[in-house]
Symmetry: D3
Subunit: 240 residues, 6 copies
Amino acid sequence: MKIIIANPNSSTQCTDAIMASAAGSNTAPDTELIALTNPKGTPAIDCTFSDYQSAWSLHRAVLDAVEEHRPDAVVIAGFGNLGVFGLKEALSIPTLGMSETAMAVASTLGHRFTVLTTLLQYVPAMEDLVTLYGMQTKCASVRAIDLCVTDCVGQREQTLDLLEQEAMNILEQDGAEVIILGSGGLSGYSEDLEKRIGMTVLDPVRVTVKFAEMLVEAGISHSKKRKFAAPPQPLDQYMD
Amino acid sequence: MKIIIANPNSSTQCTDAIMASAAGSNTAPDTELIALTNPKGTPAIDCTFSDYQSAWSLHRAVLDAVEEHRPDAVVIAGFGNLGVFGLKEALSIPTLGMSETAMAVASTLGHRFTVLTTLLQYVPAMEDLVTLYGMQTKCASVRAIDLCVTDCVGQREQTLDLLEQEAMNILEQDGAEVIILGSGGLSGYSEDLEKRIGMTVLDPVRVTVKFAEMLVEAGISHSKKRKFAAPPQPLDQYMD
Amino acid sequence: MKIIIANPNSSTQCTDAIMASAAGSNTAPDTELIALTNPKGTPAIDCTFSDYQSAWSLHRAVLDAVEEHRPDAVVIAGFGNLGVFGLKEALSIPTLGMSETAMAVASTLGHRFTVLTTLLQYVPAMEDLVTLYGMQTKCASVRAIDLCVTDCVGQREQTLDLLEQEAMNILEQDGAEVIILGSGGLSGYSEDLEKRIGMTVLDPVRVTVKFAEMLVEAGISHSKKRKFAAPPQPLDQYMD
Amino acid sequence: MKIIIANPNSSTQCTDAIMASAAGSNTAPDTELIALTNPKGTPAIDCTFSDYQSAWSLHRAVLDAVEEHRPDAVVIAGFGNLGVFGLKEALSIPTLGMSETAMAVASTLGHRFTVLTTLLQYVPAMEDLVTLYGMQTKCASVRAIDLCVTDCVGQREQTLDLLEQEAMNILEQDGAEVIILGSGGLSGYSEDLEKRIGMTVLDPVRVTVKFAEMLVEAGISHSKKRKFAAPPQPLDQYMD
Amino acid sequence: MKIIIANPNSSTQCTDAIMASAAGSNTAPDTELIALTNPKGTPAIDCTFSDYQSAWSLHRAVLDAVEEHRPDAVVIAGFGNLGVFGLKEALSIPTLGMSETAMAVASTLGHRFTVLTTLLQYVPAMEDLVTLYGMQTKCASVRAIDLCVTDCVGQREQTLDLLEQEAMNILEQDGAEVIILGSGGLSGYSEDLEKRIGMTVLDPVRVTVKFAEMLVEAGISHSKKRKFAAPPQPLDQYMD
Amino acid sequence: MKIIIANPNSSTQCTDAIMASAAGSNTAPDTELIALTNPKGTPAIDCTFSDYQSAWSLHRAVLDAVEEHRPDAVVIAGFGNLGVFGLKEALSIPTLGMSETAMAVASTLGHRFTVLTTLLQYVPAMEDLVTLYGMQTKCASVRAIDLCVTDCVGQREQTLDLLEQEAMNILEQDGAEVIILGSGGLSGYSEDLEKRIGMTVLDPVRVTVKFAEMLVEAGISHSKKRKFAAPPQPLDQYMD
């Protein structure tokens, strides 16, 4: 089985971090994970403006890679909107955004989950995602440690302390028992955080890669009726 | 990996049908599926009264089997409430009800899903399940073909025709693109129905077994904080 | 008029406390209250696991008592799920759970109510009840004093202080003006608490007994169409 | 016990019909029902404009009657908004609107209820009431037979046929099992309709009178904190 | 263009304050704003009881003024319910309540808005308005500085300090970025508050006057089908 | 005042139709409307895939035009998502999407509105917009005449007949009284449709242009706190 793991931004360093998380997802021996960077994407995606400036070229890069590699599934490894619904229109193999998938899995693991992200100003956009996926009643809150991605990656101890502190607030004030780390910048923190607080913490890359593998093995994909029906025109008419 | 598949009712014929569905779920070669029938359960579970008359002994049978087999996960293969939340309190390995799991997966496959079940009078209880799992905005409707389980099992052509007819209503009137077959009595119909209508149709046994396998491989289980924390007293104090 | 008051657990001490509350409900002189203990129930019901381990035998005990006493109504005097919907299927006389009834009455007494219970870990299950009864917009919060039932019964002054403290939080932080004492262990506290804080405080046993009496006098019972229709099979087929 | 039953409009014929319904509510022998007509109200209340043109004088008439009769409770016997929340501010004895009370009771009698009213153009206002009382998830629909009140009162057979027809739609299309007759003009139809269709049908006058009696006997009234706190100024400053 | 600006209470001082706000709304040179005081209204509207005691005479005063002035639109300049839906039935020109209009505009200006009002006890009624206008998901909270209207008008510095303090809570705790000043008593504070906190602050009088002008220029009014259809009887039959 | 009206697709014919609608919006004499076509956009936007393929270059074209023309407001004249939230981050002048604005205005004009669009397969994406703008309770339905944009533009009589037919369904089955024409392809139909059916019909271009003018005159813009705060990095870092 082949799964494309697409990093929506242009940072190969970020792609490496994503693939490190994916490598820990314990896929089957014959599952090949193909890394894809979006060279025309923005260096980081930290607002809705950059989400849109990156998604269009991400879609084109994914479609090219699908033609080249003939994969069984595609994982969009960014915790945002990123037009994944548009890509599901264009493809009929399982196509998964990691924000939607992590929330679907988390919905079964506790009463409610919390999305814990980096920047405070990005919280409303995350709340919109929760709404878009119909997860309002399963989501207790969206919280942020308000640290930029660079610091999250560089300052491990400080980041872990901030995550732990917010996790306590999540458990005591918001009543959630499951945490989704809602940013690529928080890759690699799930295990340490889980050890510190004893709650279930999801790394969305890992869980989405496994979910994609599961769908392929089970022979399930998104419905091609209505919402994810193929675009009315041939795809290349939308991409000059 | 070992997964217990527990049929909540007392019918071994039903257990066989469940295991046939499970066998089609394409698990890994080293995944062992252990069938469990609930001898003190009711012959069929077709109302809330029988749900409760069966769940208590199901829980005990599962706990005994967990002690005996030391499995990695438990799947409750009945499309109802069945006190799965209570069993999640008692266990820390992944413990999955097939109604909740199928809805979580379906939530990612289309705009909205419909639960299609057998008896019309059971629809409100299914709607309560949708609410309990927080899936109201993802669920377009709960519908029934209003055929009893015996006829569903015995009258294949008639059942398939009724399913197809309701599937058309679901697509055109309710605006759902994904169907969950919400009854053990509808095991074995998903593939034929999918072929007839071109929509994604989920067999909840299959998808739940695969989901359980995924969680085990990914090292994820339900949170033991709050909702699924261990009962305040030792378990045997609740079971004389 | 005869009303069965069924204690879902096996503690006769608890049955006595319930009947003491019921005695204060100021029923008509000719209303006879028949106490029922559930001998096969768990000693206490403090989690979903025990809810299911108790409900099945509760249902059977109630059905036997109905045959023996021919009552006009049945009150399930436990603040939980307890499969009351299943019992409503089995019976056509008014059959009332005290959690649902207290919430329905509270909905008319203020902008929003709060359920105040004993153990913190039981809060999510109470929130599920609120959802199940469709009372989300009327319920401001579910809170707990986090004291076990034994202490609630034994440590009156401490319990009252904790209740008062939470009541202040409820009024100031949650914006609710009505409190439902959501546990049998809090029987007998409503009047003292109401005096201390000046808010309306409901003892669910009292209000449910009166509600049952009202329905009988008004000739009203639950609808036997759809949700509470009789089970498809004769009752004894579900109880060997 | 004394209960004031206030007809919000100026029609004494309507007051008589209300009192006839109330008489059938099987109150205790010592419960005295005091009829009140609102002489400055509109002849009928069939739109929001007339709701407001009637409510102000209704409130004044009720306050005068309370001073004169010293009742134990007040029932506003009109199926509308009628500013009952304002009257609850002004009074501390149980003060009940029949739309809110009937919905609270109906919430316990089935999966969902339907409000069945007279004029089609009044449906949105009824839907607003459902929302105002927080009963959205318990209310399957608001429907109308689209017959004016005069015809409802005068054309019994036609009215009953229309009600039966809509009741079938309610059961089959909307999935509700309980009907609330949402208009004074439909007083006296509940029993015949219930016989024809086998569903629970509530006459809101009857159920509200009994509910008021229950609250008085149980010593319960609406909370005087926040929403129904006394107006900031003495009452007569609001009434010149 | 002529727009009637109706103050629902009887205070001409309040009418002056409203017209001062309206004057700052930068309407077109040929837009004439006609002030209307409700002489039979209560001196202030600070509870639901006074809302109803004022609305009936407000409606009559407005209808008289419409006949006299033949305006193009009517603005009800009180932040409450005030039966505006009833007045929309009676009129076919644009008829706007300032609470509904301000919320509609605010819905486009940020993720969520907060209504900030004067008295704490009036908060639940404001929350009911939010629900009535279908703005629950756009409204983060309703808050109060708990100062009576007289003090708001007289103690400018204290009021501004309290508003600023609550605005900080709104931004940090409730996650709203837009504030609606929900009381006539807070007229004239929007600009100073906006300067202090850097958030968008709406003066509902100003925004509603501009909105009314916009509708007239665009040739748009409320639909006269269903909800705002003319009352079934001629208007004067409702007003003796 | 200068307002940029940006057509998100690359069709100048479509830009002309938008400007024709805008011209009918009766703006002030000194309001200058500046047309902008998105040359790198797709020829039509009829699915989520094309929404994303067009939005990125639309944003860049708008930012360039803002620098060149220094307008007072920007209107995005496409009925979709189009990343308008991202553009609001980038700009501090009023920036309006016509789907969000039309819904906000429609929310005040009736009990509920319906979005009536062209293609059936685009309905789920429109439903997502309704959710994103928090308008679920104000929106009765999203419906489609299932005619492609080309036919809508070319076949006037057929289109008008289909619109009228759906409008009848909307009024009778969905209970909405206001229609929003949810597609650029339906520009120019609002007046004729309104005449035929007597309901309020909104042309989103017209209403949004007027709304933008209103905000500018009133000195109001979206809040720059949180959701629409400027992106964390300088804008050109997101656009190579």
